[in-house]
């Protein structure tokens, strides 16, 4: 896998060790943070409680923006001085001009959007790069769960029953790669992750990643042009 060779598979500890949420930053978010250059213009869509934004501000001096659907998440972010708007990826991304950001992050959110294709197209339009992570529905445990139990699979990442889950558009890593090809998004990097966000070295276009990875993380660039 040529792409993964360029990635820091296990990030080094930050130079400045600080107290606070940075110690608890999810590993996949940490991996994303390490891909972002200081000074970049960043939009984190589905930013939750703002953990990545706070980390970027603290560790890299990045004045990043966020978007979050839940009111409690937005209020917590803004209450901590982060620039976050209440909104959702389906409705509130269109207004941004092309190339408004250096990096647009969509972490574990794509599968909860109503129009994932349009969202993905918008991401690569408004960001020079889009970093997208999502739970891989092709993961072997999920396949086995459906095959063996005959019931909608649940896992650590997909931990709500079918009637409560916000995840309405689940896909496999292979599905995602096909969609990227269809919309003309170039895959710059790709990483297979386990449930804790620890990266594996597997090619996303091969069958193994689709079977063994619990999450996929992709860096996309460019639109159809």
């Amino acid at each position: 896998m040529s792409d993964s060779a360029t990635l820091p598979l296990r990030a080094a500890a930050p130079a400045r060790v600080q107290s606070g949420p940075s110690h608890d930053l999810r590993k996949d978010l940490r991996l994303i943070a390490d891909m972002i250059e200081p000074g970049a213009r960043v939009l984190d869509i589905g930013c939750g409680d703002g953990a990545l934004l706070a980390y970027l501000a603290r560790e890299k001096g990045i004045d990043a923006r966020g978007m979050e659907l839940s009111q409690s998440g937005v209020n917590a972010c803004v209450g901590h001085g982060l620039s976050v708007i209440q909104g959702d990826a389906d409705r509130d991304l269109e207004a941004y001009p092309s190339g408004a950001f250096d990096v647009v992050v969509l972490s574990r959110t794509l599968q909860a959007t109503r129009q994932p294709r349009q969202v993905l197209e918008t991401l690569v339009r408004i960001g020079r790069r889009a970093i997208v992570s999502f739970p891989n529905f092709g993961f072997w445990r999920i396949r086995l769960g459906l095959l063996w139990d005959g019931r909608m699979p649940m896992s650590d990442l997909l931990n709500q029953p079918w009637y409560e889950t916000p995840n309405i558009h689940l896909c496999t890593i292979s599905d995602f790669v096909v969609l990227c090809d269809e919309i003309g998004a170039r895959i710059e990097r790709s990483v297979a992750l386990d449930r804790h966000g620890v990266p594996y070295a597997l090619s996303p276009r091969g069958t193994l990643a689709n079977l063994l990875a619990e999450q996929g993380l992709f860096v996309l660039a460019g639109g159809k042009s």
Partner: protein, 391 residues
């Protein structure tokens, strides 16, 4: 600004009221084409301007508000209208910030308006006072800010019509606005809101005491018309849930309905009280002028119909706030504003606060509002290099 001098006008009884006055001799060109001169701006300040003049916050008041943000109203004696936010230890801490609030142009609390004497005629202006706009109000506020020697405001904040002024500030003078907080506002007045205002104005004009607006010269007062206008407007500031919670169908000082038109219901009694106390402190013609200014407000129209174009040069950090039960300035209006700010990649935060208190929520105890503002201002303070803010 050599033409500007702070002065007291000895002929006006309001000069006994607390606060400052800026007497402006240089004509101010208004949107309606009239050059207004001379005129007075009454304003109030709280706290102390720091050495590098970087901690000034301009508060923009709403339709019937005034500059008495945090001290007793000189007519009613009621506490200031934003004491929930402003004061020692408050979100707008008078120990941290230098707070400024000016009575709007066309107002009746010391700034020139229709009830003041037109020096050319010796009579009150009444309807010969030029029609003013939100942008005119902001132009006048800018004179005060400049008079105080402030090049850049740390924050411009306001609710309702105050939010309109905040947006006008960010659009007209982006280099002077470090952060902008429009609360429960919109970038234009909706058809429904214009309609409600027209009901209020017609109530005033239908009062025989209004006398074509010349009631002051004739020693009369259109109190009933103004009270009805206030009653109608007050309903729009609340919500059905809030009205139900406060009053329901409860009866006022009686056990049964009276089969008459007295105020049987508590909600009627409440509205009558709101109307009758309002006329003691507000001028009917000012009400006409200020509601008209809100009606005319349409920031996109000033920029070829494009709201993003209005913010093309915006450098401010925005915090847009709406309330779930506000049907006068609903969240959809704030979201439209946020989309326009996104279109120019402005730095914007947007929070919708869950409350059943309606439009008036911005004046009330709303812990989520306070926490949001506190965090936003602290973040801005860090970017501004304001040290030692109380957190």
């Amino acid at each position: 600004m050599p033409t500007l001098t702070a002065a007291r006008l000895p002929m006006r009884p309001e000069t006994e009221w607390p606060g400052h006055r800026l007497y402006v001799e240089q004509p101010l060109l208004l949107d309606c084409g009239v050059e207004l001169a001379p005129f007075t701006i009454a304003y109030q300040t709280y706290g102390t301007l720091n050495a590098d003049r970087s901690n000034a916050v301009l508060i923009c008041h709403a339709l019937t508000g005034d500059q008495y943000v945090a001290d007793p109203h000189p007519i009613t004696g009621n506490p200031g209208w934003w004491t929930t936010l402003v004061g020692p230890g408050g979100v707008l801490d008078t120990g941290d910030y230098f707070l400024i609030c000016a009575n709007v142009l066309g107002g009746c609390m010391g700034t020139s308006g229709p009830k003041d004497i037109n020096l050319a005629t010796g009579e009150p202006w009444a309807l010969s006072f030029p029609v003013i706009t939100i942008r005119d109000m902001v132009r006048a506020q800018k004179l005060v800010v400049e008079h105080l020697g402030i090049d850049s405001l740390f924050c411009v904040i306001g609710g309702s019509m105050g939010a309109m002024q905040v947006l006008q500030w960010a659009a007209s003078y982006p280099e002077m606005v470090f952060s902008a907080v429009p609360v429960a506002g919109a970038a234009r007045h909706s058809a429904q809101n214009i309609a409600f205002h027209e009901v209020g104005r017609q109530a005033i004009m239908a009062d025989p005491e209004w006398c074509g607006g010349r009631y002051l010269s004739l020693g009369r007062k259109p109190a009933r018309g103004l009270a009805v206008a206030r009653m109608a407007a007050h309903i729009t500031y609340l919500s059905e849930a809030a009205l139900h919670r406060k009053f329901g169908r409860n009866l006022q000082d009686r056990h049964a309905i009276t089969y008459g038109f007295d105020a049987d219901f508590q909600v009627e009694s409440y509205l009558r009280h709101q109307g009758s106390t309002f006329v003691d402190r507000f001028d009917a013609n000012s009400y006409l002028y200020i509601t008209r200014a809100m009606d005319y407000f349409d920031l996109a129209a000033e920029h070829g119909g494009s709201l993003p174009a209005a913010f093309a040069g915006a450098r401010s950090r925005f915090c847009v706030i709406s309330f779930t039960s506000d049907w006068l300035f609903p969240t959809s209006e704030s979201r439209e504003l946020v989309h326009a700010l996104n279109a120019v990649a402005a730095n914007v935060s947007f929070v919708e606060i869950e409350t059943d208190k309606g439009h008036d929520a911005f004046l009330l105890q709303e812990p989520e509002l306070f926490a949001t503002l506190r965090g936003f201002l602290a973040g801005c303070g860090e970017h501004r290099g304001l040290n030692g803010l109380h957190r």
